[in-house]
Symmetry: C2
């Protein structure tokens, strides 16, 4: 593998000194890019796009050709794992993902097995190919859904507004839900380790739905099984530390607990104040975030002002603290190219003052 | 007006000693009650139900006939105010509320006026009628949406998943949004005061969408205008303090700011730990909440255990601190009557230990 030319992202995650604050964007390979829309159309379906390594590689690289982003992230979907477990993932146009066979009873949960990783070969092939094509330009991030977030989709069968099915299971049969979460945790661990072995240089766990849980239950049903994943992860590979990031959307009240997870960085949504987050996590982890994706609709001056506000909220970055700039959620499909250009430029330029040793 | 027989709710809001923790439930007059569904059908439409004082009164009283709740809340909708401003509220079956004329440009916002309260006469008539029919059994709560939450609907024109329209306005033209929020604040103040004069004994401001704002912007665009409302409210009427409750869904990280608002109580969703909330608000306000409505699907034992957990999280309630039990969001239409009976019983019974002087 060629040597990494830009390792600012990896070093920021490990809270090592860097010259500026690195930036990447959740869902940076996505519909706001005309070239993505063309490739997506070529692919015919979202599943075909995600399952064809050459196409997944192409869309992963597209945003890097336009913007000076400091990391690439594998183009895939968090639901590949339950799909490989046999739940039958379908993307209905305009409706989001749906499972043909959601888990609705004890028999279905008891029968659930961690998937044969060969069924996810297309993901690892994409990782290897992207890593090769990147040629060391920037690091590649692998990812997975958290055990809880995957369970939400697996039990609800689709997105939900009230999470009634999985919460009914949680309150009525916590034992059964823990069994499902344990299976998911084992599957996610194996899945992320295979991505690391295929070439992912950092990994991120998306706990997209952890924030719908009550205080106390979040710790039991989300955090506990994310910790299980982190405990089984390869933390060094090929002679280099593989940083792990955990992102709980809506998890701002639980950062003190999350700082004890054993990950290198926490992803934050835009409701979190970065100065307060540094304080409550005692700079024990790096922080990633946290611009509201909707700020990208404010025009050049507002985008730059919001970026500077976030950099100022984090404050001085030095040895022992780390900040990776990101959005607090995926970029909107309606975002303009110019807006992203302004953001990346402002972060790279304005952040240098905060890294002066 | 007949004397109030059960003032436990009002006293708890004012952090005065009470023998047990009072309980009411957001959306307690609602679709989970078969008698509500019958009245709703009779009414023909949701708007007719909300706009006919006799029907609004009937559904307000229905849950009190079944359960030993400690407060009644006016049956209405938060969108009555923008409707009276001329935006044309419509309820499309299965789709939620929608405005025929959302605010989409400067001209529309500049033209917006606080509504003629006569157009909201049906609300005040309902309040008077309910108060009379309650005959002092329990206090009656009036309510309104917050200036920010109303603005979300007024600009988006309907519910939203990303709040792109209003956030674009916020980032591009903060001056214009503040103008809209100022008009809303004046309207909400007049609306709540008229409810108080018609007989509401406490008022609640629902900031349902405050939690979608970034830290910093929440304080500027939501909190500031809610404070404006509180500053203009009648705080005493008919010789008695009229407590005001503010509820920001997803506002758990901003409780220290909210405790300085000038309201008597803060509503909390289920992501908040009550012990932490008491600490951060220094018992400066009473707290209302915070059971996950989905816990009501756990069966009798789990419902009671969750209720006890919340009471224990709050801990000892004495002079200077106050707790009103509630859900952290509206009750689900799929909830059973038995579940509510269990909850009310457990709160009333188990809470007594925490009120022992």
């Amino acid at each position: 593998m060629p040597e990494l030319k830009n390792d600012v992202f990896l070093r920021a995650l490990l809270r090592e000194p860097v010259p500026y604050t690195p930036i990447w964007m959740m869902r940076q390979a996505g519909r706001y890019l005309p070239e993505y829309r063309r490739t997506r159309e070529q692919a015919g379906s979202f599943m075909n796009l995600a399952q064809t390594p050459e196409l997944a590689c192409e869309v992963t690289l597209q945003p890097l050709r336009r913007f000076g982003l400091d990391a690439a992230i594998l183009f895939s979907d968090i639901l590949t794992v339950p799909d490989a477990m046999g739940l039958g993932l379908q993307f209905v146009e305009g409706e989001g993902p749906r499972f043909a066979r959601p888990l609705r009873d004890e028999t279905a949960i008891a029968a659930l097995q961690i998937p044969d990783l060969n069924r996810l070969r297309y993901v690892f092939d994409a990782v290897s190919l992207i890593r090769r094509e990147l040629a060391g330009a920037v690091p590649l991030i692998g990812f997975s859904g958290s055990p809880w977030t995957l369970a939400c989709y697996m039990v609800e069968g689709a997105g939900s507004t009230d999470y009634r099915q999985i919460k009914t299971l949680m309150y009525q049969r916590p034992d059964l839900l823990h069994r499902l979460l344990d299976t998911n945790a084992q599957a996610v661990t194996a899945y992320l380790n295979a991505q690391i072995q295929a070439g992912a240089q950092a990994v991120m766990v998306f706990d997209s739905w952890g924030g719908v849980l009550a205080d106390g239950l979040f710790q039991q049903f989300s955090l506990r099984h994310t910790r299980q994943v982190l405990g089984g992860l390869l933390r060094e590979y090929d002679g280099r530390r593989v940083p792990a990031i955990v992102f709980t959307k809506g998890g701002g009240q639980w950062l003190a607990d999350m700082a004890q997870l054993g990950c290198d960085a926490l992803g934050l949504d835009w409701t979190v104040n970065l100065a307060a987050a540094r304080h409550v996590t005692s700079d024990h982890v790096a922080l990633q975030g946290n611009l509201d994706p909707m700020a990208l609709f404010g025009g050049d001056a507002a985008i730059r002002a919001e970026a500077r506000r976030i950099l100022a909220d984090f404050g001085q970055v030095g040895s022992g603290s780390g900040h990776v700039f990101n959005l607090g959620h995926g970029i909107s499909q309606f975002t303009t190219i110019d807006a992203v250009t302004s953001l990346v430029d402002e972060v790279h330029t304005a952040s240098r003052a905060y890294h002066a040793a």
